[in-house]
C-alpha cells in the first residue's frame, strides 16, 4: 500500500513547525488525510517524513466575534463546520457548502486546512472563502503572516506555502450589511466534486439596493479557484435584474478555462458556468436583500 516513511506526531504547533523547519521539502504534513491518503495509497506521493498534525487540538476551534468576524482553526473538521450553530447563523453558506462536500465519513475526519492546502481547484471551500474575502494565517518557526485566500492557490495542487510554513487559521471578516453569499456546484450525485461550481457574494447599497460589491469565484474552471472579475464588474454599480444576471453568467463563462475530463467537455463546463453563476448570484442577491 503506502511506501514507508518516518513519522512524527507533534502535539503542539511549535513542535510541528520545528519539525517542518528541520526536514523541509522532504516532509509532508498530514492532517485528516482524506485527500492525501488517496494519492499516497497509489504511491503518487511518497514523502520521506510525514508530520501528522491531526492530534494538535489547539488548532481545532471556531471563534466568532461580531466585529472581528470568524476565525476557524486549520484542523477543524468539515463536519464541525457543517454543524456549528454559530456558522449556520452567521455564515450559512459555509455550512451549506460543507453539507455537500463528499460524504459524512470524509467530513468527520478531514479538516478544512487539509482541504485548502491540497490545492484542488475543484475543491469547494476555496471559492467560498474567496467570495467571503477570507484571509489565511500561515505560521512558521520564524513567525506568522496573513495572506488573502485568493493569493493562496498558485497552480493545480500547488499552494503558496513557503518552506517550513503551515496553515494555522482561516479568517473571515464579518460581511458588510446587506451582503448575501451562496455556493452551488454541478453534481450528478450528492457529494460529487462539482463539474463546475460558483461562489457569489453580493453587497447592496443601503437605501437604493444597487450592487455595491460583488465577488465571484469558480470551482473546477481553471488550475486554481478562479475569480471571475469581469463578471463581477457586470454586477457592480447596477440594480441587478434577470438580464444582468444572465450577462454576468455569460461573461464569467468567457473567463473560465475549464479542462475536459470523463465528466464533461470544456464546452459543456463553460455553458454550466453561465447557468451556475446566474443561479448562485440570484440566491446571493435574495440573501443580500433579506440581510
Amino acid at each position: 500500500m503506502l511506501a514507508a516513511f518516518e513519522y512524527f506526531a507533534p502535539k503542539t504547533v511549535k513542535e510541528a513547525l520545528s519539525l517542518l523547519a528541520k526536514y523541509k521539502e522532504g516532509a509532508k504534513i498530514i492532517a485528516g488525510g482524506q485527500s492525501m491518503l488517496v494519492v499516497m495509497r497509489q504511491r503518487l506521493l511518497t514523502p520521506e517524513y510525514v508530520i501528522d498534525i491531526k492530534g494538535i487540538t489547539d488548532l481545532d476551534y471556531i471563534k466568532y466575534d461580531e466585529k472581528q468576524g470568524l476565525k476557524i482553526g486549520a484542523l477543524t473538521t468539515h463536519r464541525t463546520i457543517e454543524q456549528s450553530l454559530v456558522i449556520q447563523k452567521h455564515f450559512g453558506v459555509l455550512s451549506e457548502m460543507e453539507g455537500n462536500l463528499a460524504t459524512i465519513q470524509t467530513r468527520n475526519w478531514g479538516t478544512i486546512g487539509g482541504n485548502i492546502c491540497h490545492g484542488d481547484p475543484a475543491g469547494d471551500p476555496a471559492p467560498v472563502f474567496i467570495a467571503l474575502n477570507a484571509k489565511l494565517k500561515l505560521a512558521s518557526s520564524t513567525g506568522e503572516r496573513v495572506i488573502d485566500m485568493e493569493e493562496f492557490s498558485k497552480d493545480y495542487l500547488e499552494v503558496a506555502l513557503g518552506p517550513g510554513e503551515m496553515l494555522s487559521e482561516i479568517q473571515i471578516p464579518t460581511p458588510a450589511p446587506h451582503t448575501g453569499t451562496a455556493y452551488e456546484k454541478l453534481m450528478v450525485m450528492k457529494g460529487d466534486m462539482g463539474i463546475v461550481g460558483a461562489a457569489v457574494s453580493i453587497t447592496l447599497k443601503a437605501g437604493n439596493g444597487v450592487c455595491e460589491n460583488a465577488r465571484i469565484a469558480l470551482a473546477n474552471c481553471s488550475s486554481v479557484p478562479l475569480r471571475a472579475k469581469k463578471a463581477e464588474k457586470v454586477l457592480i454599480g447596477k440594480t441587478i435584474n434577470n438580464a444582468i444576471l444572465t450577462e454576468a453568467g455569460e461573461v464569467a463563462s468567457t473567463e473560465a478555462d475549464p479542462l475536459a475530463d470523463v465528466h464533461g467537455s470544456a464546452e459543456y463546463r463553460r455553458e454550466m458556468v453561465k447557468v451556475f453563476v446566474k443561479r448562485v448570484a440570484q440566491i446571493a442577491l435574495e440573501r443580500a436583500r433579506a440581510a
Binding site: 500500500m1 503506502l2 511506501a3 514507508a4 516513511f5 518516518e6 513519522y7 506526531a9 498530514i30 488525510g33 482524506q34 491518503l37 488517496v38 495509497r41 497509489q42 520521506e48 510525514v50 501528522d52 491531526k54 492530534g55 463536519r79 463528499a102 460524504t103 459524512i104 465519513q105 470524509t106 468527520n108 475526519w109 450525485m189 450528492k190 457529494g191
Partner: protein, 161 residues
C-alpha cells in the same frame, strides 16, 4: 528512521490495545490483518465505497483513509463491537428482519454509518438517513430496505415511536 515502528495506544470495541505499528499502516489493514477483525471490508482503494467504515469516538470514518497511528488515544468501534454478545443491536435486528441484507459486503459499513447517525440524531428525517449512508455503496438491493430498516431501528430505539 524510515519504517521504524511507533507505539499505538487505543481501544477497539472497548478493549485497550498497546501495539507497535509501522507508520505506513492504514487503520483498515491493522484491524483486518493484525487484530483479525475481518468484518470491516476493503472495497475500492479510492475512499469512495464506505465498505471500510468504522466509528472513531462514535463518528463514522473510512478506516482505509486513516493512518493506524492516527487512532492513537481514540476509541474505535468496528462491526464486531456493535452487537451485545448474542443480542443484536436494534439497527442490526432491523436490517435482518426487514430483509435489507443481500450479499452483505456493504452491510458492516452501513451498520456503522447508521449507528453513528442514530447516536447523534435519534429522530432523523428520511433525507438525513439517506445522507448518512450516501458514502456507503451497495450494489445489490437498491438502498430502499436499508433506509427503511434504519428508520425502523430509530423508532425502536426511541421506545417505539
Amino acid at each position: 528512521m524510515k519504517g521504524e515502528m511507533k507505539e499505538l495506544k487505543f481501544s477497539v470495541n472497548g478493549k485497550p490495545y498497546e501495539l507497535e505499528v509501522k507508520p505506513e499502516t492504514l487503520l483498515v489493514d491493522l484491524l483486518r490483518e493484525e487484530l483479525k477483525l475481518t468484518g470491516t471490508k476493503k472495497g475500492c482503494l479510492v475512499s469512495a465505497c464506505g465498505a471500510c467504515t468504522v466509528n472513531i469516538d462514535g463518528k463514522a470514518v473510512r478506516s482505509c483513509s486513516v493512518l493506524a497511528l492516527q487512532a492513537n488515544g481514540h476509541e474505535v468501534t468496528t462491526i464486531e463491537g456493535v452487537a451485545d454478545g448474542d443480542k443484536l443491536h436494534p439497527i442490526q435486528q432491523a436490517m435482518v428482519d426487514h430483509g435489507a441484507i443481500e450479499c452483505g459486503y456493504c452491510t458492516p459499513g452501513m451498520v456503522m454509518s447508521a449507528k453513528a447517525l442514530l447516536a447523534e440524531n435519534p429522530s432523523p428525517t428520511r433525507e438525513q438517513v439517506k445522507e448518512a449512508i450516501q458514502g456507503n455503496l451497495c450494489a445489490d438491493e437498491g438502498y430502499v430496505k436499508y433506509i427503511e430498516a434504519i428508520e425502523i431501528a430509530a423508532r425502536e430505539m426511541r421506545g417505539g415511536h
